[in-house]
């Protein structure tokens, strides 16, 4: 296949830790194969070659936290035929969305001696709050297998097989004994979006929700379970307010918990 008829891929970074785009470089078995099928046209972390676009597929990492980024994402959308967000920052604002609950001026003062040098927005918002998004891949970080699935599904014209059900599905398929039922360990698995392969329970710890809410949550029934297993209000608010804090379901449940 010549360069010209291969679809063009771009990888973009907004406020983030780089981990999700690193996942692409972590596809050691697939990376060179991907590069043969797709022209990686813009990927600053990996290459200094740049291409003005347009691009067939854009992977967007990170959340919008500055006025410049709010403009830049418009450009990214304009030059992208299909835009896929990768990771909790791009999909739900990321851990930096904790600023949404606080006074950003005060946050800046804590971190920087001269806050006036820093240009930042009061909120960290997901990409979908700014432009239309074609697909959102969850996770903090995203799962390598799911990233490859998104890319191969794109190439085959298939809907990516990325189930939105709970982590419990994967936990049982993996054959892990339920940490909540068998050990009384608090676990967000029943309300968390699958995709990680139910890692934490396999390591004996409760899920901490890094893939955000599943597509079918029931917090009024679920929260009492966390309490039964020893979490107090502050613990519950904390666990909901981490890497997907701005996901509406988590945000809503944590606010209700605080209101009690």
């Amino acid at each position: 296949m010549t360069a010209s008829d291969r679809p063009k891929l771009a990888v973009w970074k907004f406020a983030s830790c780089d981990g999700c785009q690193l996942t692409l470089l972590d596809c050691e078995d697939e990376l060179l194969g991907i590069a043969e099928r797709i022209e990686i046209s813009h990927f600053l972390e990996a290459s200094s070659a740049t291409d003005p676009g347009p691009f067939d597929l854009s992977l967007v990492e990170g959340s919008v936290t500055t006025p410049q980024d709010a403009e830049r994402i418009q450009h990214v959308r304009a030059v992208s035929k299909r835009l896929v967000t990768i990771g909790a920052c791009a999909t739900a604002g990321g851990v930096q969305a904790l600023r949404n609950y606080a006074d950003v001026a005060e946050f800046q003062a804590v971190v920087y001696a001269r806050p006036d040098y820093i240009d930042t927005l009061a909120t960290s918002t997901p990409i979908s709050a700014h432009v239309a998004v074609d697909f959102e891949l969850r996770g903090c970080p995203i799962d390598r297998g799911q990233l490859v699935e998104v890319i191969t599904a794109y190439l085959a014209g298939r809907r990516p097989d990325v189930p939105a059900h709970s982590v419990c599905f994967e936990c049982k398929q993996r054959g892990t004994t339920c940490v909540t039922v068998a050990h009384g360990t608090p676990c967000l698995g029943p309300v968390t979006h699958a995709g990680c392969g139910a890692l934490c329970p396999a390591y004996g710890r409760g899920c901490y929700g890094c893939f955000g809410p599943s597509d079918s949550t029931n917090f009024p029934s679920f929260i009492p379970l966390l309490r039964r297993d020893g979490m107090d209000t502050l613990d519950i608010v904390r666990v909901l307010r981490t890497f997907n804090t701005a996901a509406p379901e988590f945000d809503d449940a944590s606010r209700k918990e605080l209101d009690q």
Binding site: K172, C178, A182, V191, G204
Partner: protein, 380 residues
């Protein structure tokens, strides 16, 4: 004895495992791991959970040490045998585009392992029979399942220790063993020692039994075994309402109780995953990066997944109300229409492993009460 029943001791159990391994079988049995009694490959009698029992409740499972050193005095664990016979994920076929662009489809023919399942409880033996009916009893047979099933050797163990969440008696599936086993054991622990009454249920079972150090079954052991099983029947923690459940479910489709369950249900799917008869799967199409190789896989799926019933416009069963109803009415009701029996064997796993402890027996009782209430209201 006329029925060929025999008695073996703990050493005989070790020999049984050794004989099965020697016959090239992968022996799977209960063993302790991660604070639970799980099913895993075992290589000898030492792997069995001697001296371990369990405390079961809705939404709770705890291991507990037993003083009597019994090997099989624990109730259903977190998995069932479907993990092995109908595994969570498997490839069915692959398709390749050859040089001319022509499709070549190749069926996956991974040789089936030759399993020996040690410690199949009567409820689970029935569950296997139910899955047999679903996957091999209709117009189409699932070849991979059939391959594994035909090669599997089943050592059943009668239930002498039901849990607080068990209700096999009211489903007619235990605690005494039903048909379908190769060997059936009943564990007896009393002043005469720790021993197992063994019966063969097939020619293969007889052949294996013949290789074990054994003695003919004595009356005391037979009686003790019968008594233990009979006592177990009296110690069921739960029961279903004594009504025709198929009819109850059919007449409860618009019951208000479903709203009550929906308020509690997390739609996490755990009940379906641990259920020994739930068989639903989803088709997964994968391609590699060349674009010339595609595969069809299937993986466990659940009616609690919103996407399970999706049509191009959205899911048919969008509410958790309708998804729980689908599961319960299928399990207890429409299973009869589809496969000629109940889909429930009374093992209680769905009760134990539901994080919020939703209890299918309690729901059935509530539906029954609601129906009776409606009946009364309807009478002048």
């Amino acid at each position: 004895m006329a029925d060929g029943a025999a008695v073996i001791d703990k050493g005989g159990l070790d020999t049984l495992i050794a004989v099965l391994v020697a016959r090239g079988r992968t022996v799977v049995g209960p063993t302790v791991r991660d604070g639970a009694i799980v099913l895993a490959e075992i290589s000898g009698g030492d792997d069995l959970p001697y001296g371990w029992g369990v405390e079961l409740a809705a939404g709770s499972y705890r291991l507990r040490a037993r003083e009597d050193g019994a090997a099989f005095a624990h109730s259903a664990g977190p998995q069932s045998w479907k993990t092995f016979l109908h595994p969570p994920r498997e490839r069915q076929w692959s398709a390749d585009r050859d040089a001319d662009g022509e499709l070549v489809v190749t069926e996956d023919r991974t040789p089936a392992p030759s399993y020996a399942f040690l410690g199949v409880r009567p409820c689970d033996l029935r569950a296997i029979a139910i899955q047999d009916r679903v996957l091999t009893g209709g117009l189409y047979t699932d070849p991979a399942y059939r391959g594994r099933r035909e090669r599997a050797f089943l050592v059943a163990v009668e239930c002498t220790e039901p849990g607080a969440t068990c209700f096999c008696v009211s489903m007619g599936t235990g605690p005494a063993v039903g048909p379908g086993y190769d060997l059936a054991l009943t564990e007896v622990l009393d002043a005469d020692g720790h021993r197992f009454l063994v019966r063969a249920g097939s020619e293969q079972g007889e052949a294996v039994l013949a290789e074990l150090p054994r003695r003919a079954a004595d009356t005391a052991t037979r009686t003790a075994a019968q008594e233990r099983v009979a006592e177990a029947a009296d110690r069921m923690g739960r029961s279903m309402p004594l009504v025709d459940l198929q009819v109850l479910m059919r007449e409860s489709l618009t019951a208000e109780r479903w709203d009550d369950v929906a308020a509690r249900c997390l739609t996490c799917g755990n009940c379906t995953m641990v259920c020994p008869t739930c068989f639903c799967t989803t088709a997964e199409d994968v391609t590699d990066l060349t674009g010339d190789h595609a595969e069809r896989w299937r993986r466990w799926e659940s009616c609690f997944d919103r996407d399970f019933s999706h049509l191009p416009t959205g899911p048919v069963r969008d509410s958790s109300h309708s998804r729980y109803r689908q599961w319960a009415t299928h399990k207890l009701g429409t299973w009869y229409d589809q496969f000629g029996s109940s889909g429930c064997v009374g093992c209680g796993r769905c009760i134990v492993w539901c994080p919020v402890g939703i209890d299918i027996t309690e729901e059935a009782h509530a539906l029954n009460r609601e129906r009776e209430g409606a009946d009364r209201k309807g009478t002048p």
